[in-house]
Each structure stands twice: as C-alpha cells, then as structure tokens.
C-alpha cells in the first residue's frame, strides 16, 4: 500500500471555497441537541447560504471513560461495559472483546458456542442496519420506514430477551464461550424470524430504492473515494460502498465465518445511495449466514475451559472484528495480573466520523444530515 499521507494531501482539507459575492459566512452550531445528529454530536458548520464551506465535529459529550474503566476491572467484570459503547450493536462489541481476551488467554470457544455467536452477531447486524435505515430515512424526511424497521427489529430483540434476558445491552457472551445454553425452540424461532424477515427487506426497498426523491437525495451525495477511505481509515459499509472489497469476516476470518458461504456486497460510486444499497444487501447476506449457521448448529459444550480467575500472561494483543459499522478492534495489554494494563478500543464510528468533513464540503446543509445518517455513527461508541 502507498503512503497514506500522500493520498491525504489531495483531499484539500485546508482551503475552503470562497463565499459567493461578499455575503457573510454563516457559522451554525448543529447539536449537541439536534434531532438529526444521532445523539450528542456537535457539528460546527461554516455556511455560505446553504453551501457547506467546512465543518468541525466536537465530540465527547457522551464520554464515560470506558477504556479507563477497563484498567480497574477484571477481564470478566469489564465484559458488560463494552456493550455500552455501540449500544445498538451490543452483541458485536461483546464478541470482539471476548475473542480478544480468548486470544490473550489462548483458548478457543467450542463449535456450538461459535455457531450461536455467529447467529446472534448476525442478528445484531440486521438490527443495527434496521435502526440505521429507519433513522437515515427519517433524516431525509421519510418518516414511515422508521416504524417499519422498528416493528421488525422488535422480533430480533425478542429473541435476545428470551436468550439472555436483556434486549439492548445484552452481555450475551462470556470469555470462552457462552453463559447460557440456547432456550428450547431457539432454532425454530430464528428460522421463523428469517422467514418473516426476507419479505420485509423487499418492503423497505419498495419504499425507498426506486423512490425518485430518495434517489435524488442520496445519489452523488457525500461521495468519498476508496483511496480517501483507506487514507482516513474508514471501514465497514462506507468503505465497501466506495468499491473496496474489504470485509474482516473474509479478510481475517474470526469466529467460524470461514465455514459459511456469503458474498461481500460492494458499491461503485461511494455515494450515499451506494452505501444504502450495500447495507441493504448486507442484511440479505446476514440472513444467508444465519440460515446456514442455524441449520448446521452442532451439539456440544458451550464453554471452553477457562480459569475462574483469569490471569493472562504478560503481553499484548490486537484483535478486530467486522462490526455492523466497520472494523471494531480491541487492543489489550496484559501485565499478568487479573486486570488489563491497558484497553484500547478502535471504534468504527469514531474513525468513520473523521470522513464527515471530506464528504460534506461543497454540499448543502441538507446533505450534511444525509451524510451523518449514512455514516451510521453511534455517539456512545464515538465518545466511549
């Protein structure tokens, strides 16, 4: 790969365009209390009329010091905290953390646990994308898809609730496997859900994909090239919509994704519409993965042999997974004690958010909203 700095130089981040005539530049403070910044993101916009000359994100309104907390908790105790980062994809967070510690401990979860993990994580990807779709459409002005997606997301949350008692911050996985065996009828319910959900994706697409206004609002909006994505470290659907076929599930297979057959949907133009299409296709792929996983669900133990008191050998490990929003990485340094010496999270939302300025420059205010929506950020994860 080339030097990332060289490609950043052509992004032209420093020189904004001159305002039209001598009209005053308008500085607008969008957020932290704003209906469309998806939480407490604050964006300082510099506008020429409606045109964005530049913007700056101010973050940290939801900072809870998750990483610092990790240094004062044992490995097991820290597990529930990671659910509170990306709270709409809590299961993925848990998966990433558990796998990282397992890597540190050199244990591997048994096959049945791996399968259940994949099922729950992919369900979580669908739930996360549903939430994204609803709120993104709401930002662009279509209020109805929100209710459709929330209605169907409810079915996933019901499965979670039945499995582990929680709906949002599930704390579904344990280091070394699973805490709970699946409940009776779990497989059937997941299958029922897939049956139920397949036509629903078509329903969402029917509302939006060929809707003229939707296409006009999203085509050629917030374009980012694959090169810029790589330079900025943008991952996930945003990267893939720019034409880069990079999915950690295929590139660095974790859990047991290599056993499943699925495609990586990619886009061409890297605009908001392509990102929409990529995420819609990803939901279909997730359905495919879950179908395979639930059909081949093996019998067996759900917990590997893990010591009661975890004391990993001193050392460090970085492990990343493909969360719904992009590469979610955990970097854990162990000093041999029961608590991590340092936990560092590489959150996809935080990194993806850095592309906002590049994607919005020269566009209109309404596009900023569309781009914030399409980046699919969760402020809990950005601020941690």
């Amino acid at each position: 790969m080339t030097d990332p700095n060289s490609s950043l130089s052509n992004l032209d981040l420093e020189t904004p365009e001159k305002p039209f005539l001598d009209a005053n530049e308008l500085v607008i403070n969008m957020g932290p209390q704003h209906p469309a910044t998806h939480g407490v993101l604050r964006v300082i916009l510099r506008l020429d009329g409606e045109k964005v000359l530049g913007l700056e994100c101010v973050i940290g309104y939801l900072h809870r010091g998750v990483e610092k907390i990790g240094e004062h908790r044992t490995y097991t105790m820290f597990n529930p905290y990671v659910d509170r980062m990306d709270y709409v994809a809590a299961v993925s967070n848990g998966l990433g953390y558990c796998e990282t510690v397992e890597k540190l401990l050199n244990v591997e979860a048994p096959p049945r646990a791996q399968h259940v993990r994949v099922i729950l994580t992919e369900l979580n990807r669908i739930a996360s994308h549903q939430l994204w779709l609803g709120t993104h459409a709401l930002d662009i002005g279509a209020i109805t898809p929100l209710f459709y997606t929330f209605r169907d997301r409810e079915e996933i949350l019901k499965i979670y609730e039945k499995y582990c008692g929680a709906r949002l911050t599930t704390h579904a996985f344990r280091i070394g496997g699973l805490q709970y065996e699946t409940y009776t009828g779990f497989e059937q319910e997941v299958k029922n859900f897939l049956q139920f959900f397949r036509p629903k994706i078509d329903e969402y697409e029917e509302l939006l994909t060929t809707n003229r206004i939707w296409v006009e609002r999203t085509k050629n909006v917030g374009i980012i090239s694959g090169k810029d994505c790589i330079a900025l470290g943008v991952t996930g659907p945003v990267l893939r919509a720019s034409g880069v076929k990079w999915d950690l599930r295929k590139a660095q297979p974790y859990a047991n994704y290599k056993n499943f057959d699925f495609d990586i949907p990619i886009g061409e133009n890297g605009d908001t519409y392509d990102r929409y299409l990529v995420r819609m296709a990803e939901m279909r792929q997730s359905v495919r993965i879950i179908q395979q996983a639930v059909e081949a669900l093996p019998e067996g133990p759900i917990m590997a042999k893990v010591p009661k008191v975890m004391k990993p050998a001193a050392g460090e490990v970085y492990h990343s997974i493909e969360a719904p929003k992009g590469e979610l990485g955990y970097f854990i340094v162990s000093d041999g004690s029961t608590q991590p010496y340092r936990v560092r999270v590489r959150p996809p939302s935080f990194v993806n958010l850095q592309a906002l300025d590049v994607m919005c420059r020269g566009q209109l205010v309404a596009d900023v909203i569309a781009v914030i929506g399409t980046l699919d950020i969760v402020l809990g994860e950005v601020d941690r």
Partner: protein
C-alpha cells in the same frame, strides 16, 4: 326593530352572496360560520392527520384522551394556551410579536371569497382568484419576519428557504391558474372571469370540469397546481422551511405556546385554502360529480341524499367502535362518549335528509368533500415521501413546472382559439 328584522329577512330570498347583496348582518354571520367551521376543520384535521399517519405507520396514534383519542386535539390546544410564551431576549420584539398574526390573518382572510356554494360565500369579488393568490402570498411575509426576528440561525435559514421557495412556486402556480381562467372565456361573449363563483358557473355552463377540459391540458395544469400548492404550504415533501431533521423546526424554532399554535393554525387553514382554489378551478367547486352521465331530477335527488348518508355512516362507525370498546368499568365513560358522539352525528345526518336542508347544504358538502380528498393527499404525501433538497426543489420549480406551465398556457390558448374560430365558429 321591524326595520332590523326586515333588513335581516331581506337577504333570505336573494340568490347572491351576502357581500354582493350588501347585507352586513348576514355577511357577519357568514364570517362567523366560516371562522368557526375552519377552526373545527383544523382541529379535525389535526386528529385525522395523526390517526391516518399512525395507521400508515403500523401504530395506533392517540388513543388515551377520549375514545380513540378524539379529544386529543382539544387537550393539545389547552396545553398550548397554558404554556409560557417565550421570547428570545435578543429577538426583535415587535416583529417577533407580529409575525404569527400576519400568517394567521393571511390564511384566514382568503376565505372571504371561497365559494362553498353559489350563495355560500362571504362575498364574490370580480378579482376573486387574484385576491386569494395575493393574500395567501402575504403569509410568506409572516414567515420571513418570524425567521428573521427570532435572531437565531436555524429560523433564519428556514425563512430564507421558505421565501425563495414560495416566490418561485408562485410563478408556476400563477401560470397554471391562468390557463384555467382562460377556459372560463369559452362562452358566447368570449369574456372570462376571475370571480371564484363565476369560474364554477363557467364549468357548469360548459358542462365539464376544467380538469377534463382539452384533455390532457387541464389535467397537466391541475397537476402543476397540485405540486405547487404543496410547496406553497410548506408541507412534505417540500417542508424545507421547517425540516425538523435539518433545521430543528425552521422558522418557528423559537416560538412556543400560543404563538406557535397560531403558526400551526395558519398552516392548516392555508392547506384548506389552496385546496379550495384547486377545487374551484379544476374540480367544479360545489358541483356534484357525474352531472352529465347521471343527469335528471331523480339523480339530483339521489345525490342530494349523500350528505345525510355520509353522516349516518360516520355515526354507524362510532356505534360499531363503541360496541367494540373493552368491557371494563374504566372504559365506560369513553364508550358512552363515543356513542354520544355517534348520536350527534346521526342526528345531524337525519336533519340533512330534510329536502329543504339537503338542497341548500349539498353544495357545501360536495365542496368540503373535495377538499377532504386533498387533505388526505397531504397526509399521504407526508407518510410516503422523503424530503426534497433545496436545490432540487428550485430545479423542479424553475426547470420543470415553469416551462410546463408556460407550454400548457400557450397550448390552451391555441386550442381555445381554434375551437372558437374553426371548429365552432
């Protein structure tokens, strides 16, 4: 005393509007009736919009206050009236104070010329349609004032958007209106009219609603107007001036309580006003449907029963839902209330069957029913469409609707001339 009674009675036999007859008393009565009816319509619209939108979005909508949330708008109104009236400290006091009143004034004044029937209008002006367009275009001033006086960025952007939007769509709207007015001149004298009542009478005389006239020219003009009127009233998908996801609430971000509710009132009555223009110009105003296929006294009589039947249907719906109410002591009041509401609607329906009443009321009924169709469309748009972006909105106004309107106008004029000179000289 007798003179007064005579003055009041003198109007009753006339076939003119009270304004045209110069009868102050009846004009005042009409103003009061229209004002009250409009307020009720806005309240009903509030409830209907929330209910219909909710059912489109697989939810129930208001259910708690009154049976099926029927009293929700009233509860909302009381809440808004009791709320603190906040004015930003840096706001321009006088302009901030004036803005909602201008919007409401403009929205209500246009109803002076709306013809609910051949005699059911406050007055008939010979520049009726011009008056409606002119006064409704004044409401943009209120919006601009509100946005500017708030001394805040979001309202300012909202005001800028809305002023640009309304001025641009007025052009296309005007062209569509002119092509309809051209059609009124297709009579023996060759003179058209701008009077709202005259326009409907022209459609009656020509035996054709203007939407079907010179097919598809009338239809295209109607389409242009139907798009432009949504943009004029700042409703979805053209609700950029108050786009809540972009500008929080646009021009009325800083308004609260009573003043905010005035904007709300104005928005809905403006919707009714522009719909009534569309109904008058293209959909035959108060005329009943199918006057040509189903003509004759029998059919007239049958169609005059419609208002009563509709009210009886509403009453039946109320009773049906009252029966379906949960059988629980806590729901008893609601059930009784719903049944009582049904009784009231049913009684109104029965009164409407009296021939003398139904003959005078059916005009109002058909006019209102057509407007209700538009209101449903407004709600439907809101449930279905994403929001346009500002530049796309402008593009649509100037590059699509304006040339289309000009083309339709020229074609209409050409066809009308040909018809008068060549086909039917």
């Amino acid at each position: 005393m007798r003179a007064i009674i005579q003055y009041i009675q003198s109007y009753l036999g006339s076939d003119q509007t009270p304004g045209a007859a110069g009868n102050m008393f009846w004009a005042l009565v009409y103003i009061m009736v229209v004002f009250a009816g409009l307020s009720v319509a806005v309240i009903a619209m509030n409830w209907l919009e929330r209910k219909i939108l909710a059912h489109m979005q697989v939810r129930l909508g208001p259910m708690r206050v009154g049976p099926h949330g029927l009293l929700q708008p009233i509860a909302d109104a009381i809440k808004l009236l009791l709320k603190e009236d906040i004015m930003p400290s840096e706001a321009d006091g006088f302009v901030f104070w004036m803005a909602p009143f201008i919007v409401v004034l403009a929205a209500f004044t246009v109803f002076v010329v709306v013809p609910f029937g051949p005699t059911h209008a406050i007055t008939d002006m010979n520049i009726g349609i011009l008056f409606m367009l002119g006064v409704s275009s004044l409401s943009v001033l209120g919006i601009v004032m509100a946005g500017w006086a708030s001394n805040s960025h979001y309202p300012l952007i909202g005001a800028l958007r809305s002023s640009a939007q309304m001025v641009s769509y007025e052009v296309a709207m005007g062209l569509a209106v002119v092509s309809a007015i051209l059609m009124t001149s297709l009579n023996a004298e060759g003179t058209g009219t701008l009077s709202m009542i005259g326009i409907v009478q022209a459609q009656q005389a020509q035996g054709e609603w203007f939407i079907f006239k010179f097919f598809p020219l009338g239809l295209i003009a109607f389409f242009i107007f139907a798009v432009a009127m949504v943009a004029e009233t700042n409703r979805a998908p053209f609700d950029l001036a108050e786009a809540e996801s972009e500008l929080t609430a646009g021009f009325h971000t800083e308004y609260s309580g009573f003043r905010w509710s005035l904007f709300f009132l104005a928005e809905y009555s403006a919707m009714i006003a522009v719909s009534s223009i569309a109904v008058t110009l293209w959909l035959g105003g108060w005329l009943r449907p199918f006057p040509n296929f189903l003509s004759g006294a029998t059919w007239d009589r049958a169609f005059s029963l419609f208002p009563g039947v509709v009210f009886l249907l509403f009453a039946a719906m109320c009773f049906y839902n009252a029966v379906r109410m949960p059988k629980h002591p806590l729901f008893r009041i609601q059930t009784i209330g719903l049944a009582g509401f049904g009784v009231v609607l049913g009684l109104i329906g029965l009164v409407l069957f009296v021939p003398a009443v139904s003959l005078r009321v059916q005009d109002i009924f058909w006019f209102s029913a057509k407007i209700a169709g538009f209101m449903y469309l407004y709600i439907w748009y809101r449930g279905t469409f994403p929001r346009y972006r500002f530049d796309q909105l402008m593009q649509m106004g100037w590059k699509v609707l304006l040339p289309l309107g000009l083309g339709v106008l020229i074609l209409t004029a050409t066809v009308a001339l040909l018809q008068q000179r060549i086909w039917h000289p």
